[in-house]
Amino acid sequence: MNTKLRVSEISKIYPGCVANDEISLEFGSGKIYALLGENGAGKSTLVKILSGVVRPDKGEVFLNDKSIKLNSPLDAKKNNIGMVFQHFNLFETLSVFENLSIDSDKKNEDLRLSVNNILKKYNFKIDLDIPVLNLSAGQKQKVEIIRCLIRNPKVLIMDEPTSVLTEQETEDLFVSLKQFSDEGILIIYITHKLKEVLSLCDEVAVMRKGKVVSVSKTKEEKIETLANKMVGENLSTIKKKIKNFKYSEEILKISNLNFRSDDPYETNLINLNFSLKKGECLGIAGISGNGQSELFQILSGEIITDYTSIKFRDKEISKLNPRERREYLMAFSPEDRISQAAVPELKIYENVALNNFKSSNFFEKGLVNEKKIKEHSKKILSNFSVNTDNVEMKSQFLSGGNLQKLIIGRELITSPELLVCFNPTWGLDVGAINYIHETLININEQGKSSILISTDNDELLKLSDRICVIYKGKLSKIMYVNEVTPEKLGILMGGGSID
């Protein structure tokens, strides 16, 4: 089965942004192709066009030299193009089998038979009769893949598939993808992770600002060359100095922290104990959904569990709310920039004012002191190189990277003693990630402490002094960063044990 897929001069323009600008690419079966680019480079738009979700303004798609129309996802299915989206397209409350049967024309018995064959052939282990919300991210992805495989795809598109996977799950996925490729399925692999391109793919097309800037064989590329093509400039590489915190002052102590929830979507936390020294960064690794957001909310005071478990600079702060904790010089940068950290409909300066209640006298006699807030906001924008100086702009018009700089800036401008951040670079492009990483290393060097809860292992290894892993609400032992390897983290993140 030989498959050739060609896109020719595809353009898609959204108001204010050219997402795809005359894109032409060719793919052939038996190979794995990487589509590499930063956020907003236009990769997702291109694959949405290939899967029929979005219609191009101009251009054509050819499958085996025949022009095909992709006006709806059904057209893509008819042409045997399968797609695994970054944000899973599954129905959480339906069972796995119901999810699979929804777009299949087969009888239930026949479908079950062919699904079982796929499970056996690729060694997937999934219970078909439990609701999808009980599955791990890796299993959910397998359900998506099975859904494509049922239809004998010629082309399989994977959009950022490893962003939610553990190291081990990623390896398993790569094994499966290579197996599919050997069976003649053409695989297009979208990512911004350079390492994955080199270890998995045969050819790589780099996209930047809606255009294809290079197509090459991965053998001829290195991480640095790809990174520079992707960003379009040379990136500085920063490194953290290894320090000894033995004699430093202890700034935060968590003892016997427990959290129980009746909500099936939440994770219980079981007996957490750790402490943090002045100037130190503690990294907390783990696959999302293992208790990170509960832990973050307990540290920030959004959830109060008990009155004795959190000591900050020798003061008991367990029952304080987020505002009171900020007055003790703690600062927080939550995971979801849009819904937790900032109000997108509010202007930049209004978002800045939300945080600093007492100390900064933004409010006098119940009135808003606009002038003061705006001056303060301008300072944040320039100190943290947000690419605008217009404090009247609504926050929703900031890109993810700039919004995150604003949020971190808002937290850091009060010189807190401790910053707790949760996935601070999630979904950002390389330039913004670089900037945030530099900032986080800098605050440690100024003697401020930080807790970094992250699902990105490279980031954790780069920024942390000590690392532990959270799994099903329990913390692993805390290790110094020089004893940790990605493999060890992977094992712990999957619930295994080391030593």
Binding site: V54, N89, T93, D103
Partner: protein, 310 residues
């Protein structure tokens, strides 16, 4: 003794009759909500059904046409809601409230000329059996065809949602319209259909009131039953069978407290009148405690506006 037993049978028959409009409206709304659409216009659609059914009966003198007409008018008024929320992407809650206000006003206007006109007798089935079998007779027989349909409906709805492909698609759309759309399901079509079905069932519920239960037209005669039906759907955690149980409890306590008032129990009337509301909520909350099941039954996208990428 046989007299007492028969009396209880008649009482149960009356309870069943009083719960019919709730079962019909709630079953319809349940399907609508399962597709992720929150239509608060149930009361408005019911009362439009009530007046159109009654008006058609007076004009055509044909009960069959009246019943069908009430369903069609409920369906037509729900189209307004569908166009606004699905095509013009307005807020579900505000639009539903507007629909109810519109329905009540509209029905009062149309109904002006129909006040005081006596209704027509609606044919009841198996009347012989009702009178000849003590106790069970008045429970099982001597009802209108709509009542039998209403009591079958929750079971049909349950089967439809759980076992059929279309039911599965409706649940999928209610869970995640974006995923459904990316799977090639026409979300708009599914949601429109569910809205129209809900409208038709509410229309039928209204017709039951004005043609059978109290065969006449009185302004505002639904008397908040639409709101009760809405609450039943939520407290029954989107389970058709629990809707049936809830409707029977509500109907039952409504009738019983009337009897208690008549007999002269020394409990304040206000308290007795509030009893059906309180008891229904308590019972439904108690039988739907399983939070895992609630999660699985609740349409995740309920009330969310869905916008398709182009």
């Amino acid at each position: 003794m046989s007299f007492d037993l028969n009396f209880i049978g008649i009482l149960i028959g009356a309870i069943m009759a009083s719960s019919v409009p709730l079962i019909l409206a709630a079953s319809g709304e349940l399907i609508t909500e399962r597709s992720g659409v929150l239509n608060l216009g149930v009361e408005g659609m019911m009362i439009i059904g009530a007046i159109s059914g009654f008006a058609l009966m007076v004009i055509t003198d044909n009960l069959f046409l009246a019943v069908i007409g009430s369903m069609i008018s409920g369906l037509i008024i729900s189209i307004i809601f569908g166009v606004l929320t699905q095509s013009l992407l307005t807020n579900h809650v505000a639009t539903g409230l507007a629909l109810t206000i519109f329905g009540i006003g509209m029905s009062a206007m149309i109904g002006k000329n129909f006040v005081g006109i006596p209704g027509k007798e609606f044919p009841l089935l198996f009347v012989n059996l009702k009178e000849n079998i003590p106790f069970l007779g008045p429970i099982l027989f001597g009802h209108s065809v709509i009542l039998y349909f209403a009591f079958l409906l929750p079971f049909l709805t349950n089967y439809f949602l759980k076992k059929t492909k279309i039911g599965l698609i409706i649940r999928a759309v209610g869970d995640s319209p974006t995923s459904a759309s990316n799977q090639g399901i026409n979300v708009s079509l599914v949601r429109y259909s569910c809205i129209l079905y809900g409208g038709a069932m509410c229309g039928l519920a209204g017709a039951y009131l004005s043609l059978i239960y109290t065969p006449q037209w009185i302004e505002n005669m639904t008397g908040g039953r639409g709101w009760i039906a809405l609450a039943l759907v939520v407290f029954a955690t989107w389970s058709p069978i629990k809707v049936l149980i809830g409707a029977l409890i509500f109907g039952g306590i409504t009738i019983l407290q009337l009897h208690m008032q008549a007999v002269g129990f020394r409990i304040p009337v206000q308290l007795l009148s509030a009893l059906p509301y309180i008891m229904t909520i308590i019972v439904l909350v108690v039988i739907s405690r399983d939070s895992r099941k609630i999660k699985l039954n609740t349409p995740t996208s309920l009330g969310q506006i869905f916008y398709k990428e182009k």
